[in-house]
């Protein structure tokens, strides 16, 4: 078994008085892909944000490579090789495409620089055409490519994609899935949240379903695909 990258143990998170996460356990190892599934408002984004320290869990622990990061600042957790592509993308609108990429550039935790500006350009040729455009001039698909590219510029060991293809046209979404598959092949561990169950489970090794802040299913992607009734019950609309 490869080494543990990121773990959550018994996480309880609140927004004000609302109890969002009810004791969630989560873990991902080096190179693994995990599909994080569930309807809107079930706590997927909150789980991610709690692990990154963007929101503070009230109880429970967050471990990165076995060390306690529960109370760490977000940048310290991120510096452990964790890159985050948030829901809504969060590109810097006042920066050009080039600047969005350059500002985040750094070596990975073991000092490697596999993902350079040029490699990101090769992976996302469309961004190359927009290189001097302002972030605010990009289409939704281009914005998503830019946030993924920007995340890769940090040479991460773990890439977290929240709502990877939400709001994108089907062709653009397919392009994003193709790229995510390519990234998976390089050995970067990936947590993906997306509505397209078929696509995420085909890319990821394992899947997890959240309902009202609790884990109702955790298993392999094959297991979940063998149980369409599970998907229907917890994810169907």
């Amino acid at each position: 078994m490869s080494n543990m990258l990121l773990e959550a143990k018994e996480l309880h998170t609140y927004y004000g008085a609302s109890h969002i996460l009810h004791g969630i356990d989560f873990n991902i190892r080096e190179g693994e892909g995990i599909a994080l599934m569930g309807r809107n408002g079930m706590g997927k984004s909150t789980l991610i944000k709690s692990m990154l320290g963007i929101v503070r869990p009230k109880h429970g622990r967050v471990l990165v490579r076995g060390d306690d990061y529960t109370r760490s600042r977000t940048y310290q957790t991120a510096q452990q090789g964790i890159a985050y592509v948030p829901e809504g993308r969060g590109i810097f609108k006042s920066l050009s495409v080039r600047e969005n990429l350059l500002m985040s550039a750094r070596a990975g935790i073991d000092g490697r620089r596999e993902w350079t500006f040029d490699r990101v350009m090769d992976t996302f040729p469309r961004l190359g055409e927009r290189i001097n455009n302002g972030g605010w001039q990009l289409s939704g698909g281009e914005q998503q490519m830019l946030t993924i590219g920007r995340a890769l510029m940090t040479n991460p060991d773990l890439l977290i994609l929240d709502e990877a293809t939400e709001g994108l046209a089907p062709l653009i979404a397919m392009e994003i899935w193709r790229i995510v598959k390519e990234i998976r092949k390089t050995g970067i561990a990936t947590v993906i949240v997306d509505k397209n169950h078929g696509a995420v489970t085909s890319i990821c090794d394992r899947a997890m379903i959240l309902v009202k802040g609790q884990v109702v299913f955790a298993g392999t992607s094959d297991e979940i695909r063998a149980q369409p009734e599970l998907i229907q019950k917890h994810l169907g609309v």
């Binding site: 810097f92 350059l102 985040s104």
Partner: protein, 288 residues
């Protein structure tokens, strides 16, 4: 108005506007990036002027005073950010206003205890203490030109840092989305400290440069603070270029207002602000 007086007023407008820019650039960055309303920002201008007075008296040279004063101001800024302002980022504006208003009182009291309440002058360095004769009766002091020149150099340097360096990219990114900057592994606390110290140093430098022409007196920061907020609002919160444009607009409006419309000169700057806000509620250059 004849050409010579027009030229003099233009140069005065530029000099005043550029000096305001030094104060307002720090204010707008701290407001835009860290979300802090810093009422004590004018005090840094006052502190700069008093540093110039004390160190010029001690060393006999304003140049030397400025050379020592800038690192001192940077240190004061970094210390205040660490000791006080870093605790304000997650708090609401009321608490920010309470603390920073309290700081104004503390700074003024400290000034009163340490240096007293008298008005002081600071000598213009001898090599700049001359005037350029424009007509038989009108001349323009070289020192004011020197202030403008220093400010222009600093504005260019600031432009370079903000537009061309990684720190500048991070600063602009922080203005868009602080959480995302941090999620990319950037130590935003350190960035805040650098930006805050820089803002303090720029305001203090403005005070040091202004000391010989405005003299050094109690509460000299408060009028600068108010006008700097006007500049920040006109320029668009967080936009350094907006602050530059707005500071020049305010400089010209104020200077020419006093000459051309002396009856309402006290209002002109605020009228300009009202008109700009009706035209562009976000300020002139919000997208920058």
């Amino acid at each position: 108005m004849d050409f010579a007086s027009f030229l003099i007023q233009t140069l005065n407008s530029l000099q005043y506007g550029l000096l305001l820019f030094l104060v307002a650039s720090g204010l707008t960055l701290v407001f835009g990036i860290m979300g802090i309303i810093n009422l004590a920002h004018g005090s840094f201008y006052m502190i700069g002027a008093y540093i110039a007075f004390v160190l010029t008296s001690a060393t006999g040279s304003l140049m030397l005073a400025i050379a020592l004063g800038i690192p001192l101001a940077l240190a004061i800024g970094a210390f205040l950010e660490w000791a006080l302002f870093s605790h304000l980022y997650k708090r609401d504006h009321l608490e920010q206003v309470l603390l920073t208003f309290g700081l104004i009182l503390i700074f003024e009291q400290l000034r009163s205890i340490l240096i007293g309440d008298d008005v002081h002058g600071v000598a213009i360095p001898a090599f700049l203490d001359m005037s350029i004769q424009l007509t038989e009766v009108m001349s323009y002091p070289v020192y004011r030109l020197a202030i403008s020149a220093v400010c222009i150099v600093l504005a260019i340097a600031l432009y370079y840092v903000i537009q061309r360096t990684r720190l500048g990219m991070m600063i602009r990114a922080g203005n868009d989305d602080r959480t995302m900057v941090e999620a990319l592994g950037i130590n935003i606390n350190m960035m805040y400290r650098v930006v805050f110290a820089l803002g303090v140093a720029l305001a203090a430098l403005a005070g040091m440069l202004a000391a010989p022409i405005s003299s050094v007196y109690p509460n000299m920061g408060s009028s600068v603070l108010i006008i700097s907020f006007v500049v920040v609002v006109i320029g668009g919160i967080g936009s350094v270029w907006g602050a530059l444009v707005a500071a020049l607009i305010v400089g010209f409006a104020d200077t020419f207002g006093k000459v051309l419309l002396p009856e309402i000169s006290g209002m002109i700057v605020y009228l300009v602000m009202a008109v700009v806000l009706l035209w562009r509620p976000e300020g002139i250059l919000k997208k920058a």
